[in-house]
C-alpha cells in the first residue's frame, strides 16, 4: 500500500509543485487547503480565500488526487491574529508566520494528518531535510527556514518540503511542464490576513477588544533626551524604521527603541540602532538543546545574513546572544534563529533588542 501524505496546499505554485512531486515519487497524496480567515474577511488573495481554494482544487483535479478544506479559522484567530495584534499594542514587532507554522501548519494540521492516517505533512516551504535535520533551502534567496525554527525533531520526522532542493525558477518550470495553471501566479509576500498592507488600520480595527495606549500619540525623543516630534502611537513603529517618523533632521533618524511605559519613541542616528547582544526567550531546538554556551550564526529577521555569535543560557531559561560584531535593529517580538552552517539549530523570540 502506498504511503499517504497530506499536502498543505495554499493554491500557490510552490505547494502545488510540492504535491505534484510527491505524486511523482509514488505517494498517495491528499491535498488540503486550510481556511484560515473567517468568511467575511476572505477574498483579498490570501491563504484559504475562495479563489485560492479553487486553484488548489483544480491543481488536485489535474493531479488526480483528493482535495479537502480544513476550517482552522478559530485556531488561526486565537493563535496567530490575536497575538499579532497584542504584540503591536505592546510595542513589539510580531512574526505571525512563525506562529502560524508552530500552531497551525505543523501544530494542528500535523495532528489532523495523523488522525487521517497520513504519515507526513508536506508543504511548499523552501527548506531541506536531511536525516531529520532542518537545513537551509538550496535556493538561498528563497530560504524560509527563518520561519520554521520552531519545528522539533519529532515534528521534523513527520514533515516534508519537496521543493526545498529546487530554485524558484525550477519550481515555475516544473509547474509549467506539468501544465499547472498556477505556474505564473504572483507570489504572496504580505501578512496574509492584513488587507491592503495596512497594518496600523488592521491593528486599530482589532484594538477595541484588547484596549491599549499604543495607539495614542506621544513624544519622539532622541537618545540624548531631546524632544524631536510627536509619534502617532507606538503600534505603528518598529526598531530600525526610518520612514514615516515625521521628524526633520539633517541626518537620517531611525527608531532606536520603543518605551511603552512612557509612551515614547526614541530615535537616533544610523549607528545607534546596532546592538552587541540580545536576549532570546521561548526557545525551541530542532534537536537536543545545548547543554551550555555554544557558537552559532544568528539571524534576527528574514533575509538577515546570519551573524556569528556566542549563545549562553541564562538562569531564567532564556539565552543571551552576543554578536561578534554589532547587528542592526533586532526587534523584540521577532525571531532569532540559530544556524550552524546550513543547519537550523533552533531559535526563539527576541525579548530585548534595543540599543545597548
Amino acid at each position: 500500500m502506498k504511503t499517504r501524505v497530506l499536502a498543505a496546499m495554499s493554491g500557490g505554485v510552490d505547494s502545488s509543485v510540492a504535491a505534484a512531486l510527491l505524486v511523482e515519487r509514488g505517494f498517495e497524496v491528499v491535498g488540503v487547503t486550510m481556511k484560515l480567515l473567517p468568511r467575511a474577511e476572505t477574498g483579498f488573495g490570501c491563504c484559504g480565500s475562495p479563489s485560492d481554494v479553487e486553484d488548489a482544487k483544480r491543481v488536485c483535479d489535474g493531479l488526480g488526487i483528493s482535495h479537502y478544506t480544513a476550517d482552522m479559522s478559530e485556531l488561526f484567530e486565537s493563535k496567530v491574529i490575536r497575538p499579532y495584534v497584542e504584540a503591536w499594542l505592546s510595542a513589539r514587532t510580531p512574526n505571525p508566520c512563525v506562529e502560524c507554522n508552530r500552531s497551525v501548519k505543523f501544530g494542528h494540521l500535523l495532528g489532523l494528518a495523523e488522525a487521517w492516517g497520513c504519515a507526513k505533512v508536506a508543504t511548499g516551504h523552501y527548506a531541506r531535510l536531511e536525516d531529520g535535520r532542518l537545513l537551509k533551502a538550496s535556493d538561498l534567496d528563497k530560504d524560509q527556514t527563518y520561519f520554521l525554527y520552531s519545528l522539533t525533531a519529532r515534528e521534523l520526522a513527520r514533515v516534508d518540503f519537496p521543493v526545498g532542493g529546487l530554485s524558484k525558477t525550477e519550481v515555475r518550470e516544473k509547474a509549467r511542464a506539468l501544465g499547472l495553471r498556477v505556474a505564473d501566479k504572483a507570489e504572496s509576500m504580505e501578512t496574509c490576513f492584513v488587507p491592503g498592507r495596512d497594518v496600523r488600520g488592521f491593528v486599530e480595527s482589532r484594538a477595541e477588544s484588547v484596549g491599549s495606549s499604543a495607539l495614542s500619540t506621544g513624544e519622539i525623543r532622541d537618545t540624548s533626551g531631546r524632544v524631536r516630534g510627536t509619534h502617532s502611537g507606538l503600534a505603528s513603529y518598529t526598531i530600525g524604521q526610518r520612514k514615516g517618523l515625521g521628524v526633520s533632521s539633517p541626518d537620517p533618524l531611525y527608531v532606536v527603541r520603543l518605551e511603552p511605559e512612557r509612551n515614547e519613541l526614541v530615535v537616533g542616528g544610523g549607528d545607534e540602532v546596532f546592538v552587541h547582544s540580545i536576549v532570546v526567550g521561548a526557545l525551541s531546538w530542532t534537536q537536543a538543546a545545548p547543554c551550555g554556551a555554544r557558537r552559532a550564526e544568528v539571524r534576527v529577521r528574514h533575509r538577515h545574513p546570519p551573524a556569528s555569535a556566542e549563545l549562553a543560557p541564562r538562569a531564567d531559561g532564556s539565552f543571551s546572544v552576543c554578536f561578534d560584531s554589532p547587528q542592526r535593529a533586532p526587534a523584540p517580538g521577532q525571531a532569532a534563529v540559530f544556524y550552524e552552517g546550513d543547519e537550523v539549530l533552533g531559535g526563539g523570540t527576541i525579548l530585548n533588542g534595543g540599543a545597548s
Binding site: 499517504r4 491528499v30 481556511k35 468568511r39 481554494v53 483528493s66 479537502y68 478544506t69 480544513a70 476550517d71 482552522m72 478559530e74 485556531l75 486565537s78 494542528h108 495532528g111 489532523l112 495523523e114 488522525a115 487521517w116 492516517g117
Partner: protein, 385 residues
Amino acid sequence: MTYLDHNATTPVRPEVVDAMLPWLREGFGNPSSVYSLGQKARAALERAREQVSGLIGASDPSEIVFTSCGSEADVLAIAGGAWQGHDESKGKRRKVVTSAIEHDAILLLGPQLRRRGFEVLEAGCGPDGVVAAAGMAALVDASTAVVSLMHANNETGVLQPAAEMMAAARAHGALAHVDAVQSLGKLSLDVESLGADLLSLSGHKVNAPKGVGALYVRRGVRLSPLVTGHQEKNRRGGTENLASIVGLGLACELAGRELSGASAHSLALRQKIEAGVLVLPGARLNGHPQQRLPNTAHFSFEGLDGHHLVVALDLEGICVSSGPACSSGASTPSHVLTAMGVDSKLATGSLRVSVGWGTTDADVDRFLAVLPKAVERLRALPAAL
C-alpha cells in the same frame, strides 16, 4: 467504495439509464414538433408525467410540471405562487410562511421576496427537529399568499406536520406547498391526503439523474412562471429535458412499485447503523427518535469536527456527510441543528448517514468497522483553541 449518503444524491439505476438512452440517440425529437419524431418524444414525455403523477397520487398527469431540479420546483412554487397570489388579491396577499429548517433553495429565497415587499415568516422547530404545527399555523392569515413546509428534513430526516400546515394554508385561502424532495420514494406520498396545492420533487434523490425535477400543481392553481415559454402549459418554458424526464418517470414508477420493501430494507439498515453508532462514547442521535425517514440517521459526536470525520471516512472509501452537501467545506453548524437548539460544538461534530437503493448489510458493516477508530483518532486531537 461504500456509499452512505443517499440524501445528498443517489446512483442512477441501470434500468433508468437504459430507458433514457434512446431519447439521447435516435429519439432526439422536440416534443413540440409536428412530425412523428416529435410526436414520439411527446408521447414519452406524457408517459413520464403519468408515472410521476402516479407516485404522488395526483388526479391528473397534467398537474405535473417538469423543472430542472427540486430547487427550481421550490422556487416556482413559492415565488411563482407569491407573485400570482399578490396580483390576484390586488396586493392583499403579501406574506409567505415557511420554517427555519427548509432547504437553502427556500431559505435563500426569503431575502429576495422581502426585497420585493413580501413579509416572510419562518417558524422554528423543537429540540426534536419537528416544526410546531400550531405555532406555524398561527402565522398564517388572510394576507398569506403561500405556506411552505418540507415533508421530511434533508439533514435529520425528521418528518414534519405537512398535512396540518397545508390545512391551515387552505383555511386561509393561501397556496399550500410541500417540499417532498427528500421523502419521495422513501415514504408513501399522496397529494390528496396531504392537502397540497403544490409539491416539489427531484430526480436525483430517487435514482434518476441530476438536472430534472417536477412540481405538482393542483388543477386550477395558477403560478407566475419563472421561465416563460409555451411548454408545460405555459407554466415552465424551455424545451423539455426529455431523456432525464423519461428517467425520472421510470424511477418514480420503480420507487412506487418497490416502496414497501425498500422502506423496510432501509429501516433495518438504519436501525443497525444506529445501534452500532450509539454504543460509541459521546455519540448521540439528533432529531425525533421515531418520527423520521426510514433511511436517515443523524448523529453528533462530542469533541470532534464532523467535517474532519467525513474526510477520515472518505480516505477509507466511505461516503457520508456532516451536513447538507451544498454547504460542505466550512465547519459551521447547520441551520437545522441551530434551529433545534443543538449546542454549536455538538452541531459541528455531526454526521449524517443515509442509505438507499443498493445499500447492503456489508456496506453498513464496513462503516461500523471503520467509524470507531476514526472517531477515536480525531478525539485525540488537542482542542482547536
